[in-house]
Amino acid sequence: MKVMVPVKRVVDYNVKVRVKSDNTGVELANVKMSMNPFDEIAVEEAIRLKEAGKVEEIVVVSIGPKAATETIRTGLAMGADRGILVEHDDEIHPLAVAKILKGIVGEENPDIVLLGKQAIDDDCNQTGQMLAQLLGWAQGTFASKVEAEDGSLNVTREVDGGLETVKLNLPAIVTTDLRLNEPRYASLPNIMKAKRKPIDEKTAADYGVDATPRLKTLKVEEPAAREAGIKVESVDELVGKLKEKGLI
């Protein structure tokens, strides 16, 4: 089998995000960028499937600026086989991403597209589902467990009510949740090997996709600062304050 793993370059999870002074977006200049953590889990899962002998090839795809090559290299250093960079400098939204991925699927014919359930920058949680619709494939979203059988996948999903297990006929889309696995470190020998793995460079136009955003961001603002708390002297005062605010 062949697995395709789309990965997104995002502001590192542990970086304190700052809103630009003109409120058009968040500050990206000289900010630490890393692979979207959900996508990292997807790469790890693909590698585990390969190590289990279920998968022969893993292709990592990223749509973004030239620097997204580094994100692809991270995937290759973890153990993926080759990469595709769709170079795109401007803002891009899930539907355009899904259309480009559909184009790549048409050329690569993977059996599984394994991707993060959402990216931590825009939190859209749409790309996997849109891609499933565009391709007419089965989808197992929010996966916390993936088991490959002949011609199908058993995917355990994290849903509001608990866990739900679905059986998907291949080809299929799987989106990953946090508890699926613990991604591995990139070892030095593998980082060096990754430098020799091929990365194809494409553009949205190569797949006939118009990636112009359909949504316009009007304004980005910091959330309101949390108000300072107060100290009360007694239980009576506490109850009084809660009543005053209409909370009890």
Partner: protein
């Protein structure tokens, strides 16, 4: 006992807010976190200004009342606790002097009151897009004043120096109540003795620091963090040399720990993962290269440098963190070691340094000597290899009673300190002397140095009221 008249006078001088005899309020400041020392005192002063402290010290000096200053109470040598060895001492905490006074990005300086924590200083610097580089395990509690008086070190000393190097000026109240003040951010000032430096490592024996001006640096917005496995500790020096060379000397961290240390961490600390699953190596290095800009070329240079060293067998294996999350995971392996040791049982600790070039030889020679002499003990040397500072800790034999093992503390200290001296090293690299190592200091410090220290002490504190138990022995 401190005379009641002195206590009453000091309380009336500072007022009930800033002076208390309430043992419930005092008690938390008398406990040391390792439970090695328990202080006692009748009176706690928490002055909110140098002027208030000056009034108090003038009175104490005139009446021979001894005082012990305390910052965050994170010290490891008993230097900040009053009443040890049954002395009568007033505890003076800087906790009320807790304001950041000025951050000047263009001077690359920050001026703070003595009771501000290192963490708060780091955060204030970050807000101004600057780095305050001192970083140590207790940074959330330890204070500017305490770290200067201890001349604390931590993990960034290889690149930025210890607290002494980061201190541009101090304000301090001397024994007679004089307020010495030099908070200038001048980088060059050759107008006589650099008196502010005198307070570094003074442990509260020369004056009580009330404010400080500290150095800031450009931020390390991007860090390359690597966890390296080596078979022979000798390779560590080659790796350090190569990394400093190829990164234009931007190595900010260079820490070492043995496999036995990693094992303790994985065994005792939750959510820690082995960096090399299924593989073991004798030694690990945590190295970090910091840069204010994102520099892919620098990353590639480091990768090439390290992989070349794999090719010529200097490095056995390695990891480079691919995200801040992975970086923090690797750091946790190093930073949890002290705590993991605590869970494992008793350990006898040595905070030593030797010249960097001597670290491998010291470890290879002295660790087997100890393990032979104290059968079943396990030496777990770890720490800041980049600046020659090792925490040369010795774990108890697993079958031995903890207290029985700890009874060897002083004898083993003397043995290790003798060997450190043979290697031209220091018996206290970053924790200080306090009362814990005062005897050892007297035994091993050159007589001429001790003499000069005593002359300075006598000149500034003739009545010996400032932290009389620290640094010097009584006789």
């Amino acid at each position: 006992m401190i005379e009641k008249s002195h206590i009453d006078h000091l309380v009336s001088l500072l007022g009930p807010e800033c002076a208390t005899t309430d043992q419930d309020r005092i008690a938390p400041l008398l406990r040391e976190w390792r439970d090695k020392y328990f202080g006692h005192t009748q009176l706690l002063l928490t002055p909110n200004s140098a002027e208030q402290l000056s009034d108090a010290l003038r009175y104490c000096n005139a009446h021979g009342v001894a005082v012990v200053p305390q910052g965050g109470n994170t010290g490891l040598v008993g230097a900040g606790l009053p009443g040890l060895a049954n002395r009568d001492e007033v505890l003076i905490s800087t906790q009320r002097m807790n304001k950041v006074l000025d951050v000047c990005p263009n001077d690359y300086s920050i001026t703070v009151e003595a009771g501000v924590t290192i963490k708060e200083i780091q955060q204030s610097a970050e807000t101004a897009d600057r780095l305050f580089p001192l970083s140590l395990a207790s940074e959330g509690s330890c204070t500017a004043g305490g770290t200067i008086a201890t001349n604390a070190g931590g993990v960034h000393v290889i690149r930025y120096g210890s607290m002494q190097a980061l201190t541009m000026g101090v304000e301090a109240v001397l024994a007679d109540g004089t307020i010495y003040s030099d908070l200038s951010p001048l980088r060059k000032d050759n107008t006589g003795y650099k008196l502010s430096s005198l307070f570094a490592g003074s442990e509260g024996t020369l004056g009580i620091i009330t404010k400080a001006t500290l150095k800031l640096y450009p931020p390390e917005r991007h860090r390359i963090t690597t966890w390296i496995a080596i078979d022979d500790i000798n390779s560590a020096l080659n790796i350090l040399e190569k990394l400093r060379d190829v990164t234009a000397d931007r190595v900010s961290v260079f820490e070492i720990m043995p496999h036995s240390g990693l094992e303790l961490v994985l065994r005792h600390i939750p959510s820690t993962l082995p960096p090399f699953p299924g593989k073991e190596f004798p030694w690990y290095i945590l190295a970090e290269i910091g840069s204010s800009i994102h520099d892919p070329v620098l990353e590639e240079t480091v990768e090439d440098c390290l992989s070349n060293m794999i090719s010529n067998n200097q490095i056995a294996d390695g990891i480079i963190a691919q995200s801040e999350q992975q970086r923090l995971e690797l750091w946790k392996l190093r930073e949890s070691l002290s705590e993991a040791q605590k869970h494992e049982g008793g350990s006898i600790k040595h905070d030593i340094s030797v010249p960097v070039s001597q670290v491998p030889e010291f470890v290879k020679t002295v660790a087997p000597e100890i393990e032979q002499r104290w059968t079943g003990s396990r030496v777990i040397p770890f720490g800041h290899l980049g600046d020659g500072n090792l925490h040369f800790n010795v774990m108890q034999p697993s079958t031995m009673d903890k207290q029985a093992f700890l009874a060897n503390w002083e004898e083993m200290n003397r043995f290790v300190h003798d060997r450190v001296t043979d290697f031209s090293g220091s018996i206290s690299a970053e924790h200080g002397i306090g009362s814990m190592k005062a005897q050892e200091l007297k035994r091993l410090k050159p007589a001429s140095s001790l003499h000069a220290m005593q002359m300075i002490k006598k000149a500034l504190d003739p009545n010996n009221i400032l932290n009389p138990g620290a640094l010097f022995t009584r006789d």
